[in-house]
């Protein structure tokens, strides 16, 4: 039954660590983190419908030092997963498959995620006045 000429998955023990597989793993990790973020987003919406007391309780947790740290982490996960997701959609359309292109787009995705996260928090911290 077995067909020895089928392509094999890379054997992780002998697979050289490089930017492409690192970014792939980070894509999955940030996706799992964002699923947790979706739970918090839903809790926030339910609290908003629940009234001021419930809302301020949730916002109080989110504005605590640990809460802000988590929100900053989620922002980075969001922008990374967004940018790298667009990279994946380009691949699905058949674009950017050359190794040099894939490495360049990978670096661009990391840079864009850091820049967008920094810009987002600059607006939050300077614009909120609190």
């Amino acid at each position: 039954m077995s067909q020895p000429n089928r392509p094999l998955s890379p054997h992780l023990g002998v697979y050289r660590w490089q930017i492409s597989n690192t970014l792939s793993i980070v894509h999955r990790l940030t996706g799992v983190m964002l699923s947790l973020g979706a739970v918090v987003f839903t809790v926030w919406l339910v609290a908003l419908a629940g009234g001021p007391d419930a809302y301020l309780g949730v916002v109080g947790v989110l504005r605590s030092p640990l809460g802000v740290l988590a929100l900053a982490g989620w922002t980075l996960c969001f922008f990374y997963h967004l940018c790298n997701g667009i990279r994946h959609l380009c691949w699905d359309a058949g674009l950017g498959f050359e190794i040099a292109q894939a490495r360049a787009s990978g670096k661009a995705v990391v840079a864009a995620a850091v820049v967008l996260t920094t810009a987002f928090w600059l607006v939050v911290l300077t614009g909120s006045g609190s």
């Binding site: 392509p7 339910v46 908003l48 419908a49 809302y55 959609l89 607006v123």
Partner: protein, 128 residues
């Protein structure tokens, strides 16, 4: 190169059956989330310095309520597909595997219904 097994060929099974729905749903929701996610991120920037009443009024406006439900629903659909793949890859054992897949779907549907109800309640103007 022939990629299909003899059994798969005999049964007429292969790609582009049930697996395609998952793959396509993930891509379609990803494309929608690019737009909805950016809309939500920009919206949050406008809401961080406002109080409860301003946020509640914002969420209850028809356009915002519709986009919030679309964003939440698409986000949770995309999330359920992604977590499903992670479970299929890492959770082994017949009972744990199926249990994790069922819990994954249940949790995502509960979150979607709770979130959508909240937005509808806000849109209707009253607190719950």
């Amino acid at each position: 190169m022939e990629m299909r097994s003899p059994m798969g060929r005999a049964l007429g099974l292969g790609s582009a059956r049930s697996g395609f729905g998952h793959w396509w749903g993930q891509r379609l929701s990803a494309a929608a989330l690019v737009l909805l996610g950016l809309w939500f991120a920009v919206s949050v920037l406008g809401l961080v310095s406002t109080d409860y009443w301003a946020v509640a009024a914002w969420a209850g406006e028809p356009l915002h309520a519709i986009l919030l439900v679309l964003f939440l629903g698409t986000l949770l659909y995309h999330s359920s597909l992604g977590i499903q793949v992670v479970i299929e890859d890492y959770v082994h054992g017949p009972v744990a595997h199926v249990a994790a897949l069922v819990v994954n779907r249940f949790v995502h549907v509960v979150l979607a219904v709770a979130g959508a109800w909240s937005v509808i309640a806000l849109s209707a103007g009253g607190q719950a």
